[in-house]
């Protein structure tokens, strides 16, 4: 342990067990000091979160019921639920919702399972573990913008993906024009998204795995537990908290799909890859309709809340 400077120092309290003068008074002073230092420590982060997450969120909520534009000489007026009426009547919005659901339904299970598999593969010490750890995390340290550009190039009709498919199938598979075909554009984006983000969740799984005491595994081995049983009865229960964290973060990230679409397809072809956030940014930034974009963001936010509530309920502790 690295606490040696403190641990080796002589402790006057232990060597002179004299009764402490006016113990209740000391306790009260200590209590007050703890409150003041505690709040002083919490304050910087709490204030920044208030200023740059909470207030803008509340602001967005309010703007959704107005006619605000990003730059406009007209005063902002309250318009009630007009933006929502327009939104729910917009087929593009329903298409975006469908696309994001499709994306999430595939990405959440596949990506969390792959990430856990990767974490298990590199959890134990073996020769070259650092190498594999680094390689698995490589796609994550590559920016989603760079990744999207790179895959945009690889997904071309004459690109690397089609060449690889043709080579490995001995010419049987003739590749698609991935991003220009409404049927294949979303699967193509799904593949690259999992490729890019699995390593991130691998790190979270890994942190969870390494918090499980090695003694538990030793005990299980002494009891003659198989590797599957060790996973089932030591690893899996030990990952309880990590599990819900990974599920919630992947789902929210999946619903928030934006970068890939923005760089690769701009929502096309035929709205087959448009997403809720992409529609929000398109109307809010490009068309400067802050209020309509805020309404979309609000619907999105409610959706995220609902889904994480359901997920939390499903992964709750069963007594």
């Amino acid at each position: 342990m690295t606490t040696s400077p403190l641990a080796t120092r002589p402790r006057p309290a232990a060597t002179t067990p004299a009764p402490l003068p006016s113990a209740p008074h000391r306790r009260r002073a200590g209590f007050l000091r703890e409150q003041i230092s505690g709040w002083g420590m919490i304050a910087p982060a709490a204030l920044l979160l208030l200023l740059f997450v909470f207030l803008p969120a509340v602001l967005g909520f309010g703007l959704a019921f107005t006619n605000a534009r990003l730059i406009s000489p007209r005063p902002v007026e309250f318009v009630g639920t007009d933006n929502f009426a327009r939104l729910f009547a917009d087929p593009t919005f329903w298409r975006a919702l469908l696309n994001v659901t499709y994306f999430a339904v595939v990405v959440v299970p596949v990506q969390s399972a792959l990430a856990l598999a990767m974490a298990l593969l590199i959890n134990k010490k073996f020769r070259g573990v650092n190498f594999f750890r680094t390689v698995y995390f490589l796609p994550v340290v590559t920016s989603m913008v760079v990744v999207s550009l790179l895959w945009l190039f690889m997904y071309r009709k004459d690109g690397l993906i089609n060449e690889l498919l043709s080579t490995f199938s001995f010419g049987l598979i003739q590749g698609a024009d991935w991003l220009n075909d409404p049927a294949t554009a979303m699967p193509a984006i799904i593949a690259l998204s999992i490729w890019q983000a699995a390593g991130f969740h691998m790190i979270i799984w890994l942190a969870g795995l390494q918090s499980i005491s090695g003694e538990l595994y030793e005990a299980a081995q002494l009891d003659g537990a198989s590797r599957w049983h060790q996973f089932r009865y030591v690893t899996w229960p030990g990952l309880k908290h990590t599990r819900s964290l990974v599920l919630v973060t992947i789902t929210i990230q999946a619903l928030g799909l934006f970068d890939q679409v923005s760089v690769m397809t701009q929502g096309g072809p035929l709205d087959s890859t448009t997403t809720i956030i992409y529609e929000a940014v398109r109307s809010g930034f490009k068309q400067q309709e802050t209020s309509y974009a805020s309404a979309i963001s609000l619907v999105f936010f409610v959706l995220v809340l609902l889904i994480s509530a359901v997920q939390r309920y499903l992964t709750r502790e069963k007594d």
């Binding site: 342990m1 690295t2 606490t3 400077p5 403190l6 120092r9 309290a13 000091r33 703890e34 409150q35 230092s37 505690g38 420590m41 919490i42 910087p44 982060a45 709490a46 920044l48 200023l51 740059f52 997450v53 207030l55 967005g60 990003l70 593969l121 650092n130 594999f132 750890r133 680094t134 390689v135 995390f137 490589l138 796609p139 994550v140 340290v141 590559t142 920016s143 913008v145 760079v146 550009l149 790179l150 190039f153 004459d158 690397l160 060449e163 043709s166 390593g199 942190a207 390494q210 003694e215 934006f258 970068d259 956030i277 929000a280 940014v281 802050t290 805020s294 963001s297 936010f301 994480s308």
Partner: protein, 280 residues
């Protein structure tokens, strides 16, 4: 081991392809595509694409900007978030449960939903500037460095990670230090933080990546070329004739520093886990 290698091949092949292609002229990139040469630096290899990149965009300036913005965000983020998590985890502060719940609740708001109100909001914030001896106050943070840094310092996920980690450090260490007369900040700095190396490494990586990779945000709030970060530079390559070799060279240029830094962090990550004896 075969499975490990298979996963590694899938993870690495696009990146190898990018690095290798950045060294080739366009005609050769397409010529090599159908063979293993696509992943090998063979044939007409040169750094011509990189030279062309520096001609086309102020790449050095963009790199300096991104390094500065990311470094400041990471250092301040580690300090402020760990301090907050320390108080929430190890001190008996009244109301800390409510605060922690509210902080965790902010995790649920994705940045993209905040982005648009945030643009409006940062434009209303006052901006203090010390000009010689006089303090100048102006309105609006748009087109500055701090608009790219300050909103991203405090992070609920970093606080959560530190909190989780601090919970695993025995509280008896704090009590021992308090008997020695240590104040709370001293306990934070000399007892808890030295043991939290792995959490710090994780938070550093997870703060650095979005700072370096940010695209949507600077696109909306930064207009001046001299303030732009690296990701915005990508736009420059699609303005006239697209040269994929140059695109791959710029992509490599802004990816390689991160990879190098990550490998350095990776080592400290593993070492600190091994030396701090987390497992007992």
């Amino acid at each position: 081991m075969l499975v490990r290698i298979l996963f590694a091949a899938v993870a690495a092949f696009p990146i190898v392809f990018m690095l290798v292609s950045s060294l080739k002229p366009d005609t050769q990139i397409f010529g090599d595509m159908s063979s293993v040469a696509a992943f090998l630096p063979v044939g007409n290899i040169s750094f011509d694409n990189y030279a062309a990149v520096f001609d086309r965009v102020p790449a050095a300036r963009f790199l300096v900007n991104s390094i500065g913005i990311s470094a400041v965000t990471v250092v301040l983020g580690i300090f402020i978030n760990s301090l907050c998590a320390f108080a929430l985890s190890r001190m008996e502060v009244r109301g800390k449960r409510v605060v922690f719940t509210v902080i965790l609740a902010t995790l649920i708001v994705p940045f993209q939903t905040l982005a648009l109100p945030l643009v409006w909001w940062v434009n209303q914030l006052p901006y203090f500037e010390l000009n010689g001896f006089s303090l100048e106050i102006s309105k609006g943070w748009l087109d500055t460095y701090q608009v790219q840094i300050i909103p991203f310092i405090a992070n609920a996920f970093s606080i959560y990670l530190y909190h989780q980690y601090f919970e695993s450090i025995p509280k008896e260490l704090d009590e021992a230090a308090r008997i020695d007369g240590a104040g709370w900040f001293k306990i934070y700095r000399q007892v808890v933080m030295p043991l939290a190396g792995p959490a710090t490494a994780t938070v550093a990586i997870l703060t650095f990546l979005p700072a370096w990779n940010s695209y949507l945000w600077p696109l909306m709030v930064v207009q001046s070329e001299e303030l732009r970060p690296v990701m915005i530079g990508i736009q420059y390559f699609f303005q006239l004739n697209v040269s994929w070799g140059e695109v791959m060279a710029y992509a490599s240029l802004i990816t390689v520093p991160v990879v190098v830094l990550f490998i350095a962090f990776q080592r400290s990550f593993i070492n600190s886990i091994a030396s701090s004896g987390v497992k007992g």
